[in-house]
């Protein structure tokens, strides 16, 4: 299986004395698609930023391993973070050395062929996230980190983007960690769902339903109910503390 494996050992993170994550142990196998769900403020994004290396953990150790080379990690943010002064092509080629010929193929793959020379200002929210996805994928990352990338999109665009992501991963498998607040999205896409709560991993669920999955699948629906219940109790707990 291609992709990087990830291992976290008693990882903790505090901001100005407030503990966000505490003693997180986690192993992600190469090629696995893991979703992280949890109530807002539970530390999902913090966990992702630690794995991305954008922040350093306060405690513990994080290791990324890819076969034969240093693991290449790309992060896709909730906001597209496109550079408005660069064209679609210019944005996709950000930080690319060599391999510039791949841009056309990637833009084809995300359905933006023919839009290369446009500036982001003229693109819709879904198209902008497609560019952001192409920008992450052109590096052929071993580990793709997605921080609620479709959270700001409308339902139809979101479904289209989920489908696109799944297709792209079938074509070129890699390890993916997706932070989402959408339980259904997590169950549609991932091999494994983590529920983060109180600074730690409260549930770790392997979900090996065959793909492509459907929202109406009874197994998916049952799990969705169960996870939503878990999330609701977590939200209630948080509210009680606050």
């Amino acid at each position: 299986m291609s992709g990087a494996s990830v291992s976290l050992r008693s990882v903790g993170k505090s901001f100005a004395g407030r503990t966000v994550l505490n003693g997180v142990d986690l192993d992600i196998a190469a090629g696995q698609f893991v979703s992280i769900i949890g109530p807002s403020g539970a530390g999902k994004s913090t966990l992702l930023r630690l794995v991305a290396g954008l922040d350093a953990p306060s405690r513990g150790r994080i290791e990324l391993r890819a076969t034969g080379h240093k693991a290449d990690v790309r992060l896709m943010f909730q906001e597209d973070r496109l550079l408005p002064w660069r064209t679609v092509l210019g944005n996709v080629l950000l930080g690319v050395k060599g391999r510039k010929g791949d841009a056309g193929r990637i833009l084809d793959a995300v359905g933006l062929q023919g839009r290369e020379s446009e500036f982001p200002v003229g693109l819709s929210g879904g198209q902008r996230q497609r560019v952001a996805l192409a920008r992450a994928l052109i590096h052929e990352p071993d580990l793709l980190l997605l921080d609620e990338p479709f959270g700001a999109l409308d339902a139809i665009t979101r479904a289209a983007m989920q489908l696109l992501l799944e297709q792209l991963l079938v074509a070129r498998p890699r390890t993916v960690v997706l932070v989402t607040h959408d339980v259904e999205e997590a169950l549609l896409l991932s091999d494994r769902v983590l529920l983060v709560k109180d600074g730690g991993i409260a549930r770790d669920l392997i979900f090996d339903q065959p793909r492509p999955r459907h929202r109406s699948d009874p197994a998916l629906a049952t799990l969705k109910e169960e996870l939503l219940d878990g999330l609701l109790t977590a939200e209630r707990d948080l509210a009680a503390v606050a």
Binding site: A52, F77, R86, G95, V121, R135
Partner: protein
């Protein structure tokens, strides 16, 4: 079946609307100045306003033609333009360089910013007597004053622009493996471009203002000298002519900077639509 809207007719209407807009943005701005000119001419011609206080537009036109015939007008305009061009270039370029250095390097910021901010608060026109004592009445004091006037608006906007770059974009650049130089070139400079251009436009205004004062004091040519000379000869028509020349110069330089802005910032939401149209 009910037709909700006839699309072909709608789009025709939109085209008309756009042509109407183009007409509006080209012609309408001239409405007020030309109207005022007509009213002014009327008031002077009927004697409601004495031409001894404000000469009629036709008198000013005559004065301009006389001066042009002798070659004085062209010469003075060119001299003033040259002074603004040189002074502004030196000032804006130094402001840009200082701004980039101070904005990009924390060490240089700590070293220079306080001092530059202190110098900035001195009204540069207060230095006129000192400049004349030091440099006499040649070209230097005027050029230095214009340069000083143009430096600080560019400096402040450059530093501000660089320091206000969205940290999320910088984080993006870092996580995509950009080195320091690439980060500056691909993210920081383009993001700071708009405030820098605003500073340049403002600086150009200050440059003209400074030149007016600089040329009024002990000069032998330039539009300011024209005014000075006319005051001694009690030629109000020439004084008003010079004021109009300054207005035209200001408008033209603003136009040029706007065009440059529109070209450089064509990706910007505020400019994108106008470029497409």
């Amino acid at each position: 079946m009910t037709v909700v809207a006839d699309v072909s007719r709608l789009s025709k209407a939109a085209g008309l609307h756009q042509r109407g807009l183009a007409w509006r943005s080209v012609v309408l701005p001239w409405f007020l100045p030309l109207g005022l000119l007509l009213v002014w001419q009327f008031l002077s011609a009927t004697g409601i306003v004495s031409t001894a206080i404000v000469p009629a537009p036709s008198d000013i036109w005559d004065a301009a033609r006389q001066l042009a015939k002798r070659g004085e007008l062209q010469h003075d305009i060119l001299v003033s333009l040259r002074r603004v061009a040189i002074g502004f270039s030196i000032g804006a370029l130094s402001g840009l360089l200082f701004g980039l250095a101070v904005g990009l390097f924390e060490l240089l910021h700590d070293l220079f910013d306080r001092s530059l901010q202190m110098i900035r608060t001195i009204p540069h026109l207060a230095l006129v007597p000192l400049m004349i004592l030091w440099f006499g009445i040649g070209e230097e004091p005027r050029l230095i004053l214009v340069a000083m006037g143009s430096l600080f608006p560019v400096y402040i906007n450059t530093v501000g622009g660089i320091r206000n770059v969205d940290p999320k974009l910088i984080e993006l650049g870092r996580s995509y493996g950009l080195g320091r130089a690439e980060l500056v070139w691909s993210i920081i400079l383009p993001a700071a471009l708009q405030p820098i251009l605003v500073g340049m436009r403002y600086a150009l205004g200050v440059a003209w203002l400074t030149l007016v004062v600089g040329e009024t004091i002990a000069s032998r040519d330039g539009v300011g000298y024209l005014v000075q000379n006319a005051r001694e000869l009690l030629r109000i028509d020439i004084i008003v002519l010079a004021i109009i020349l300054y207005a035209i110069a200001g408008w033209l330089s603003d136009l040029v900077t706007r065009l440059i802005e529109r070209r450089l910032l064509r990706w910007h939401p505020s400019y994108a639509d106008r470029v497409k149209a």
